[in-house]
């Protein structure tokens, strides 16, 4: 479990990219306009781009680079550009602090990002 931020510092519609996650590629944390919190893999499985920079509508995030869409609840890809899902992670709030329990599943990463993590 890692500490992400104070809930008060992540307004609705905001996102946060967590780069310092032990043993994991970066994680994206979203606070949707509806008030839900979601943590998913930050890296689009199609090509290396940050989903935290993407656009959230309802329960989906659209990659800013090629508009691949992932379901924030399940991690499912739209199957058009991105064929592989992103992992979803548990979010917990304790005394106003947001924590993320990173999934132990193996992440799908596009080729460019695989090199980055390996190094």
């Amino acid at each position: 479990m890692i500490y992400a931020c104070q809930l008060a510092d992540l307004p609705r519609g905001g996102s946060l990219r967590l780069t310092d996650v032990p043993g994991s590629p970066p994680v994206a944390l979203f606070h949707t306009e509806d008030g839900e919190l979601y943590a998913v893999d930050d890296t689009c499985t199609h090509q290396d781009a940050s989903l935290a920079d993407g656009f959230v509508e309802d329960c989906a995030v659209e990659c800013p680079l090629h508009a691949a869409i992932f379901d924030l609840r399940t991690g499912e890809a739209d199957g058009m550009l991105a064929r592989f899902p992103i992992r979803t992670h548990r979010v917990m709030i304790e005394d106003g602090a947001v924590h993320v329990q990173v999934s132990e599943a193996v992440p799908y990463l596009p080729p460019g990002a695989r090199r980055t993590v390996a190094s």
Binding site: D42, Q47, A49, S50, C63, P64, L65, G112
Partner: protein, 385 residues
């Protein structure tokens, strides 16, 4: 004795016409033909002045974009999700590819370079690029699209490429005030609330200054504009609406509306005052806009100088939204000034070849009803000095 005056040597430029208090000189011919002068005009006039480039209705929804030419630059205008219109150089900051190749279009959230997919949000910020996450030192604002100053006024987007634009109030609104006497006179027409009824684009094989000069005088009206002179009889005197401050040419007694045959037009724009009714006003906003105001519609001309001898003129006919929504016939209204434009642009195209004649090397002359054009010439020369 004139008979003893030596004849000009063959091949030498002709002297200018004999000038008197009635005749004052024009610019010399090379001002209309010399590519170096044209380049200087692009640099010091077209790329430094406020330029009217798009109707706000062309950028109706967030993500609607339009590419336009200003001076030697391609500029992309886009309406943001916050409804503001922004303008950027149409150049990817990465390797310089033309960002938007189409003249207009609609994007959802971002402008993306078709070369390496550098992706900019509608405020110009770099939001994504392949492997950008591995380059945390890349400043997304500094590497965002290069912005251009933009203003929306009278339902049009105006841009200025100067890093420190001149005062919009002085240059643009000031032009209207010096023509009409006050800014309220144009506000009465509520141009920003009018709807686009017709747009015609003319490619004119003439230098842009010939088109400005033509618009400023009416010495030619009785000769080439039979329909316009029928509707505005005082134009037969040759004194244009541009000559007197605040003066609008009055419709003829038997003229019902500003139409090609003088028949009735459409309901008067509600804000137009009684003193403006049945009158025609013409305004030049340097360097590239002409506006015509008549009681039931407004005509906006936007010029884009493309070469010494080529100018694109886009003309919008704007009517009350309910007139357009009702499907009313606007053909006779549009046809009047469309004919005037064709007549004017034919005259400009007839003039352009003469600009490179040795006979015109020292220029020609302006008659008293054209003397105010000399002030335009001084303005151009001052800008290039």
């Amino acid at each position: 004795m004139t008979t003893l005056d030596p004849a000009p040597a063959p091949g030498s430029p002709a002297p200018g016409p004999p000038l008197t208090s009635s005749l004052v000189p024009t610019l010399s011919g090379r001002w209309y033909t010399d590519p170096e002068i044209f380049a200087a005009e692009q640099d010091r006039i077209l790329e430094r002045s406020w330029t009217c480039v798009a109707h706000s209705g062309d950028l109706a929804a967030p993500g609607a974009y339009r590419t336009v030419t200003v001076g030697r630059e391609s500029i992309v205008l886009v309406r943001g999700r916050d409804q503001a219109v922004r303008a950027f150089y149409n150049v990817c900051r990465h390797r310089g590819a033309r960002l938007c190749a189409e003249p207009e279009g609609q994007v959802r959230r971002s402008l993306q370079c078709p070369y390496h997919a550098w992706t900019y949000d509608l405020s110009g910020k770099l939001v994504a690029a392949p492997n950008l996450t591995s380059m945390p030192d890349v400043d997304r604002v500094a590497n965002g699209l290069a912005p251009v100053a933009v203003r929306e006024w009278i339902g049009y987007a105006w841009v200025c490429l100067a890093p420190e634009p001149p005062s919009f109030e002085m240059d643009v609104i000031g032009s209207v005030v010096s023509r009409l006497g006050d800014v309220e006179s144009i506000e009465h027409y509520g141009i920003e609330d009018l709807a686009l009824g017709r747009r015609i684009s003319y490619d004119v094989a003439a230098n842009w200054k010939l088109i400005v000069e033509n618009f400023m005088e009416c010495y030619h009206c009785a000769t080439i504009h039979p329909e316009l002179t029928e509707v505005l009889p005082e134009f037969a005197d040759g004194y244009a609406a541009q000559y007197y401050v605040g003066h609008g040419a009055e419709f003829g007694e038997d003229v019902a509306g500003f139409t090609v045959d003088g028949s009735a037009g459409h309901p008067r724009i509600p804000g137009v005052e009684a003193g403006q009714d049945r009158r025609y006003y013409a305004i030049t906003i340097r360097p590239q806009v002409f506006v015509n105001l008549v009681p039931d519609h407004v005509i906006v001309h936007r010029m884009t100088p493309l070469a010494t001898d080529l100018t694109r003129v886009e003309v919008d006919w704007l009517f009350l939204p309910e007139v357009i929504a009702s499907g009313a016939d606007i053909d006779r209204s549009v046809e009047l000034f469309h004919r005037v434009n064709v007549q004017d642009f034919d005259a400009c195209e007839r003039t352009q070849p003469g600009m490179s004649s040795r006979v015109y090397a020292a220029g020609g002359s302006l008659v008293p009803s054209e003397h105010h054009i000399a002030e335009f010439h001084r303005w151009v020369q001052d800008r290039l000095a």
